[in-house]
């Protein structure tokens, strides 16, 4: 699944570890989502959307 996580993270100047801490997941999970090797669960996708204050469909697209 394509996503804009890397760009959004760059805008906020957060490292993968920073974002992982904020979402309560591991750095490997953030990396796997950014490289499109792993699709996050719905609860995690909602957490991401809430953190960046954007609708889910603006961050993830199938």
């Amino acid at each position: 699944m394509k996503n804009k996580l890397r760009e959004l993270r760059a805008v906020k100047e957060w490292s993968q570890s920073d974002l992982a801490d904020k979402l309560g997941v591991s750095r490997q999970t953030i990396n796997a989502i950014e490289t499109e090797k792993y699709d996050p669960s719905l609860p995690l996708a909602f957490k991401v959307a809430r953190l960046f204050k954007l609708p889910i469909e603006d961050i993830f697209e199938p």
């Binding site: 979402l23 309560g24 997941v25 999970t29």
Partner: protein, 165 residues
């Protein structure tokens, strides 16, 4: 006072499998003990009773002997409980990898043991390795199964973890 000891960041930190892998830089002896402590105690008690059984324990009353034999299994159940809690505390990616590795471990061990047993019953090992006695080809002991499961788990974990790196 207590609340200051548990920050939100601490509570949201997911369990990482690397924290219980000896040799990894994230390895934590305390975390390893929390997860695998009961397994360690069960191994010690099981080993001690195996050594003592032929001489000392065999002369004890039947109820005590049954208790000695069953104690490691109770401890193993406690270990499974702590392991399940550990897996539940992982983040979703690591939980997926770990559960896939556990499924691989159980399936591969079952497959290997059944295959080995059938070859052993057919006398294949005895025919190939004539110097060994038939009893030495039995892999039905807890030690053999445990070693096999440990090997399969590490193999499975490496395979499934590579997919997300």
């Amino acid at each position: 006072m207590t609340s200051t000891l548990y920050t939100a960041r601490m509570n949201t930190k997911p369990n990482l499998p690397d924290e219980i892998w000896l040799g990894k830089k994230e390895y934590s002896a305390w975390t390893d003990w929390k997860v695998n402590g009961w397994l360690f105690v069960a191994t010690i008690i099981s080993g001690a009773s195996d050594i003592m059984f032929p001489q000392v324990v065999r002369e004890w009353p039947i109820a005590v002997r049954a208790l000695v034999a069953l104690v490691p299994f109770v401890l193993l159940l406690l270990w499974v409980r702590s392991l399940a809690r550990w897996v539940r505390g992982m983040d979703e990616l690591h939980r997926r990898i770990t559960l896939a590795a556990i499924l691989f471990t159980v399936s591969a061990t079952f497959f290997f043991v059944v295959l080995w047993h059938r070859l052993e019953r057919a006398g294949v090992f005895q025919a190939i390795f004539t110097t060994r006695s038939p009893a030495s080809w039995d892999i039905g002991t807890v030690g053999h199964i445990f070693l096999l499961m440990t090997f399969c788990y590490f193999l499975g974990y490496r395979i499934f973890n590579r997919r997300y790196q």
